[in-house]
């Protein structure tokens, strides 16, 4: 049953299995295990980013396609929900319509980009997607009449999902709409993650891997490489848009900085590479590790920076705002020394 749920793609390493179980249990029980607003928010972010990073891994790890337009699809989903909730009023129909419209728009855009530019080389595609994504980001901030511009949009979601909806206590924890909202995010992410796992372990996923390894041979065998790459782009875009919708439902705010910025694209890239390209479990570990670091490591760096205040330069290097630099260094090192990421490393150890 479990193996079937995982589409036959077992973690294949005791340590990895244990880590994944811990993450799953922590996320599933987050409202009961941890106290307070911040841990729950962190847990929700981890769920959403696992989905987002997994959808990016479908492109990068399985298809070998480097795209810088992933935040654009994420943003489309988020703005879909935001716009629908603004114009249709609060309600589940608005959430659903917004998510579907966002995903549809993402698929159409991905189809256009894919058909147009996937014939060219990896480097070319990366540059084109970067250009398109930045154009979309600029458009969103320019047309402030529709999108709220730099300020973004704040809107209402159904009352059932907000903390105003008190539903009594369970196991000593107060259950509110926020808890329900969290479980909506959790189960939707889990479901879509399993769906992505299903996709990459299907014949389609195998063909993608073949194309990644050698597109010339794959074409020679008779697979239409461009078609497969385009479909992968569309699927990944749809999943990213769904992640964006969940993010919008959770935050009740959408703005260019939280959904469309190049920084988020960099974050996604870091999560994929550090977790491990070409395995969906890499996305889980990468996203969990990264967001925990983002939330808690900065505090640690802050105190380290204060402790070294007397020394030259070191406090500046340890400044909590500079944590991205350390991740960048880690990122470069991991591309060189363990290109298969944490998951690849864990699996290797078992073999040797």
């Amino acid at each position: 049953m479990i193996v079937k749920l995982l589409s036959g793609d077992k973690p294949r390493s005791a340590v990895l299995t244990a880590v994944l179980l811990v993450i799953l249990i922590c996320l599933a029980g987050a409202p009961f295990i941890f106290d307070g607003v911040r841990p729950l928010d962190t847990a929700a972010r981890i769920c959403i980013f696992i989905l987002l990073v997994a959808s990016y891994d479908l492109l990068l790890g399985y298809g070998g396609i480097v795209s810088f337009a992933h935040t654009m699809f994420f943003g489309l989903g988020a703005y879909g929900v935001a716009l629908a909730s603004t114009h249709m009023g609060r309600g589940f129909d608005a959430l659903l319509a917004g998510s579907l419209a966002g995903a549809a728009a993402a698929v159409v855009l991905a189809l256009l980009i894919g058909l147009f530019s996937l014939r060219v080389r990896a480097i070319f595609f990366a540059m084109i997607t970067l250009a398109v994504a930045s154009a979309v980001a600029v458009l969103v901030s320019q047309f402030s009449g529709i999108t709220g511009g730099e300020d973004g949009l704040t809107y209402n979601i159904p009352r059932v999902l907000t903390s105003a909806n008190r539903m009594g206590e369970f196991l000593g924890t107060r259950i509110t709409g926020k808890t329900l909202n969290y479980y909506l995010v959790f189960f939707a992410s889990l479901l879509l993650f399993l769906l992505l796992l299903r996709i990459v372990n299907s014949p389609f996923g195998r063909v993608l891997q073949a194309i990644r390894e050698n597109d010339f041979r794959a074409e020679a065998i008779g697979y239409r490489v461009v078609w497969y790459r385009t479909v992968a782009t569309c699927l990944s875009a749809a999943a990213a848009a769904m992640a964006g919708s969940l993010f919008a439902i959770w935050l009740r705010y959408v703005g260019p900085d939280t959904t469309l910025s190049f920084e988020i694209m960099l974050d996604i890239l870091l999560m994929v590479v550090i977790g491990g390209m070409g395995t969906m479990y890499g996305a889980v570990i990468g996203a969990a590790l990264f967001i925990l670091a983002q939330t808690y490591l900065q505090n640690l760096m802050g105190s380290a920076s204060e402790a070294t205040a007397g020394l030259p330069l070191i406090p500046d290097l340890l400044n909590p705002d500079r944590w991205l630099m350390w991740l960048g260094i880690l990122f470069i090192l991991s591309v060189y020394f363990f290109p298969s990421g944490i998951v690849g490393r864990l699996r290797e150890r078992r073999v040797s």
Binding site: I123, A126, L130, A131, V138, M325, G328, I329, I332, V335
Partner: protein, 343 residues
């Protein structure tokens, strides 16, 4: 016996259509300028916009030329190029601020020496940075595109953060040297002096690059290396040294572009290079990867387009460049003047 084969030479002349096709990319610029003239209507504002479009194009060309050369020769696309632009701007502007007395005086000589010192410092630092970047970050991943993209993006992150460490997180505002402020009026159109200077520098650089690439031995080796690297090495040239030299030169050009862009905007941020990268990539793509001439034409097109559209419909400026890129790629999928054959 059969008749002897006909030995009359055949003269194959290039038809007009073929000639026109080869010249079309160059003709696009006057075409765009003409279109701009009719769309804008008022000759004086058209002239102002054209000059600032050309100035912007020249500055983008300076940044894009290094990128496209490195790509053509080494098959490396350097996403870290944008970070060099930022570093160049920060170093150059720091020098200009330190030489505040020189830039504040209304003497052309003092002003220009300050600018030259700033440019020199910026190019030295970015050139050295490029050398280190090549050795540490790029060298281990030659031939692997995916890894190249990833590590150079990593390099971009680290260098940008280092700028924050050295110069602090805030943007820096500053003033242009006295003699570069203000504008000259010609035929009723005001043209900023600095923009005219930028046009002159860009043009001079383009001509110099063409001369070096076409007329000197090192240019010959570089061009041959782009065409067929192993053959050049078999002839006994140490292509590796040429590689590094081109990478350093490309990085130094990014630094020069950064200083000039900083002076144009009169404000610099650590993220400015990242923002410029989008335009630089568009230019490199539509010009054809590896082609300096293509980058020049592409940069002018992008600069003019951006300024005309920003005047006519401000919200669509960047999008118009994407549209331009799309149109050109539909017409010529490899860019206008591709040097590197698609692999």
């Amino acid at each position: 016996m059969t008749a002897a084969p006909d030995h009359r030479p055949t003269f194959a002349s290039i038809s007009l259509a073929e000639r026109l096709d080869a010249a079309l990319p160059v003709l696009l610029i006057p075409l765009l300028v003409l279109l701009g003239f009719f769309a804008i209507g008022a000759p004086s504002s058209w002239l102002t916009l054209t000059v600032s479009g050309l100035a912007m194009g020249m500055m983008i060309f300076i940044m894009a030329s290094g990128l496209t050369l490195v790509f053509g020769l080494m098959d490396v696309i350097n996403f870290g190029h944008g970070a060099f632009v930022s570093v160049g701007a920060f170093v150059g502007v720091s020098v200009l601020i330190a030489l505040g007395e020189w830039t504040g005086a209304a003497s052309l000589l003092l002003n220009m020496s300050a600018v030259f010192l700033a440019v020199g410092a910026a190019m030295t630092v970015t050139g050295a940075l490029g050398w280190g970047f090549e050795r540490i970050i790029v060298k281990p991943v030659y031939g692997a595109h995916l890894k190249q993209i990833l590590v150079t993006v990593g390099g971009l992150i680290v260098i940008e953060q280092l700028i924050h460490v050295v110069w602090g997180p805030d943007e820096i505002f500053f003033n242009r040297p006295e003699t570069l402020k203000g504008a000259v009026t010609f035929a009723g159109a005001a043209m900023e002096k600095y923009r005219l200077l930028a046009v002159a520098v860009g043009l001079a650089l383009f001509i110099a690059m063409r001369m070096v690439l076409r007329r000197t031995k090192i240019g010959l080796i570089v061009r041959a290396g782009v065409e067929n690297g192993p053959m050049v090495e078999a002839l006994g040239y140490r292509l590796r040294l040429v590689f590094v030299g081109v990478f350093i030169a490309g990085s130094a050009l990014a630094g020069l572009g950064g200083v000039m862009w900083g002076l144009y905007q009169e404000v610099i941020t650590a993220g400015m290079g990242e923002k410029m990268m989008v335009l630089v990539f568009i230019v490199a793509i539509i010009g054809g990867l590896g082609s300096v001439e293509g980058a020049f034409i592409g940069a002018l097109l992008v600069g003019l387009m951006q300024n005309y559209v920003a005047f006519l419909e401000p919200k669509l400026a960047l999008v118009s460049n994407i549209a331009l890129m799309t149109a050109i790629l539909m017409w010529r999928p490899q860019g206008m003047l591709p040097v590197v054959k698609a692999k």
